[in-house]
Amino acid sequence: MDKIGLYAVPVVISVIAAWGALKGTDIFEAFKEGARDGITSLVSIAPSVIGLVIGVNMLTASGFFDMLCGWLSPVTQSLGVPPEVLPMALMRPVSGSGSFALLNSVFEKCGADSEAGRIASVMAGSTETTFYAIAVYFGAAGIKKTSYAIPAAVLADMTGMLMAVITVKLM
């Protein structure tokens, strides 16, 4: 299974570069333009990342997460989930920068390649900032009632989180 992840990167890059060249695109110009977009979006997320990394770092240093994990571990242990991933899982639907800071705190505590680190990575990669997306999209369309959008989206998130635990444990 690790092989798929290993091959995915060179395969995706080669296929896209070859396709672009075949279509007559100036692939290096396009790459530069895209990379510039990457810088722009990094700059735009930087202020909130700085604020929230400070916040999470404070919570870690104060011993809050150790306390929280102590309280949560009887519950999470019975589910087979490392308690360290829970703060990230709870933050994920609310704030992208917040979950980013918490994902990093899991890496710092347990290591990126540990079971907790991989579960948290898969959770972060397979779900979205659900509440933010709902607010932005319905807000843009001028619709105040979200009807059943939140329960359906939350159900999707919970499925993604659960599958993150299952797939990491099995693979």
Binding site: L22, G55, G125, K144
Partner: protein, 194 residues
């Protein structure tokens, strides 16, 4: 929203550090956090730009359009209320493909455009139609070929295999998407009006 969250983090940390006797560590952690945040962003920047650059090549050479064409029949089936609204359906397909390719900068404006076009199709409405809800649910399930941010952060944290999570992410995303679509369809069938 984030203002409350941030306040919570700061105040809780302070009280917690008094309880656990970690005030000194807390004091250190504040400036250390600011320092760490920028180092993190810098150490991720290269990988992030790599992916936005690669995906831009795909976008510029028509890969997004081709993928959108491939997806449109599926999306039309999923959104019967809007299937004849070709303008909206084009934006929907473009948004979904941009998400899959990880073109976050492009995906959100396209999604907003899609929502506005879907809202404009009906009468003056306060309640979203089933297609609009399904579209937002699809967006929250985060289908993405390469989970760029998570991979870049893993690499910055010294992972030996930052991309080993890919198969798990694909399976989990697909499961989340399937659950979201099923739930939206089910709740939609229960809803009486529109």
């Amino acid at each position: 929203m984030l203002a409350y969250l941030w306040l919570f983090m700061i105040i809780v940390s302070f009280f917690c550090s008094i309880l656990t006797g970690n005030v000194e560590a807390l004091a250190m952690s504040i400036t250390e956090g600011a320092d760490k945040a920028i180092k993190l962003l810098l150490s991720m920047a290269g990988v992030m730009c790599l992916w936005t650059g690669i995906m831009k090549i795909g976008d510029k050479s028509g890969l997004t359009d081709a993928a959108a064409r491939l997806l449109s029949p599926v999306l039309a089936r999923l959104m019967p209320e809007q299937r004849h609204n070709s303008k909206a359906m084009r934006s929907v397909a473009a948004n979904v493909t941009a998400n899959i390719l990880g073109l976050g900068n492009a995906a959100t404006p396209l999604g907003i455009k899609a929502m506005r076009e879907m809202a404009a199709s009906g009468d003056e409405r306060t309640l979203p139609d089933r297609s609009m809800i399904l579209f937002v649910v699809i967006n929250t399930a985060s289908l993405q070929l390469i989970p760029t941010t998570a991979a870049a952060l893993r690499q910055a944290a010294g992972s030996t295999q930052p991309y080993s999570i890919l198969p798990c992410v694909w399976i989990s995303s697909a499961a989340a998407l399937a659950a979201g679509i099923s739930a939206a369809k089910l709740f939609g069938a229960w809803r009486k009006n529109g």
